[in-house]
């Protein structure tokens, strides 16, 4: 394993394809309803965004903020971040490599939290089943949203952060010691 200083641009194809597919799936994920709630014969359907607005209107600001971050902000930031990293790897922005590697680590970490909305809809659909009194049903938007989450995770997974750096393994390098051990 000896990544060259200039990665083959064809390697960028996989993360780019996953990111583009995720961007396309974001349209149905945000336009289609994800949930249908019926309470005492009164029904309403919610998209991801209208669900967040309903939480906000009910005074549940903290919860609305959590769902907004997980369901809208993180997927958008991940896509923008992957686009930025692909650009950086392509233009060989070595001076920013350390900062870009931190960005990659953050994108890799935050992606899983987007699954929150999928678990949320699943739990509501399973728990709230009181016949005519109250019921919750999942709607097609949540399938599209789950696809966005999986595709963005696959996009960051297929991006290799060593593309951001010059030659990762200098030939015949005996290796430099890692930084002096520090107390964690």
């Amino acid at each position: 394993m000896s990544p060259s200083a200039d990665p083959d641009p064809r390697q960028f194809g996989r993360p780019l394809a996953f990111a583009l597919a995720a961007a396309v799936m974001m349209v149905p994920a945000n336009v289609l309803p994800v949930l249908r709630t019926r309470v005492m014969g009164e029904a309403r359907t919610d998209t991801i965004f209208s669900g967040i607005v309903a939480l906000w209107d009910d005074g549940l600001w903290g919860i609305a903020a959590i769902v907004f971050v997980a369901s809208i902000l993180i997927p958008v930031l991940k896509l923008l971040g992957i686009a930025w990293l692909l650009r950086e790897a392509r233009v060989h922005a070595r001076l920013r490599a350390r900062r870009d590697t931190r960005l990659y680590a953050i994108l890799d970490f935050i992606g899983r939290w987007s699954m929150l909305d999928v678990f949320l809809v699943a739990f509501l659909a399973g728990a709230v089943q009181f016949g005519a009194l109250a019921s919750v049903e999942p709607r097609a938007g949540i399938v599209a949203f789950a696809a966005v989450v999986v595709l963005t995770v696959l996009a960051t997974d297929s991006f290799q952060p060593h593309w951001l750096w010059p030659d990762a393994h200098p030939p015949a390098s005996p290796g430099r010691p890692a930084t002096a051990p520090s107390r964690s």
Partner: protein, 217 residues
Amino acid sequence: MAPYQLPSPLSSARGQSLLGCPLCGFTHAAVPLAQGQRATCVRCGTLLCARGRLGPHAPAAFALAGLLLAWPALSLPFITVAKFGNFRPTWLHTGAEGLWNGGMPVLGTWVLTCGILAPLLLLGLLAALLAGDTRGAPDLHRQLLRLARSLAHWAMPEVHLLAVLVAMIKLGALVDVFIGAGFWCYAAMSLMLVLAWRSFGFEPSVSTTDGRRDPAP
């Protein structure tokens, strides 16, 4: 919780052990670590290795504790919801079942995988890797490690927990909600998985033989 990456010992040059940074790929000479110490990549700052304060058996203890908690987490009531005196107990798998019954079997299976199956399998794999020493069989050890890393991408019990907490607050206006013993066991199991995975990966005594990146469970 910071993302967790396994460092990758590359080869031994003249008996010297080398560590490759899992993010930037930079090669380092291994340094001996005392308990509580950690080593970071000189180039990108990524944590390469950390020796926990709890000793080398801590990851196995966490993994076994997680496995023991899995049974009550699965079998005891998770959350009970009530409306006008109608009580409806739910179990850990009720969410996936709700999607199945709602005509979304694939998504239901996916939720079951990320919330239950992958965390359980990961705990089992960690316990197998730590308790039964597979390093005598390098091929098996490598395959189990690779499987553990793939599973760790999709094992999301902590995200599942947060979603259930959000759902309970959201449901507060609609129905009455009671937390069951299964919920607490699942929360404890999730914590054990995170602790086992983190301490497992950062322990420099755990040898790895390839250089793939690892996700955070």
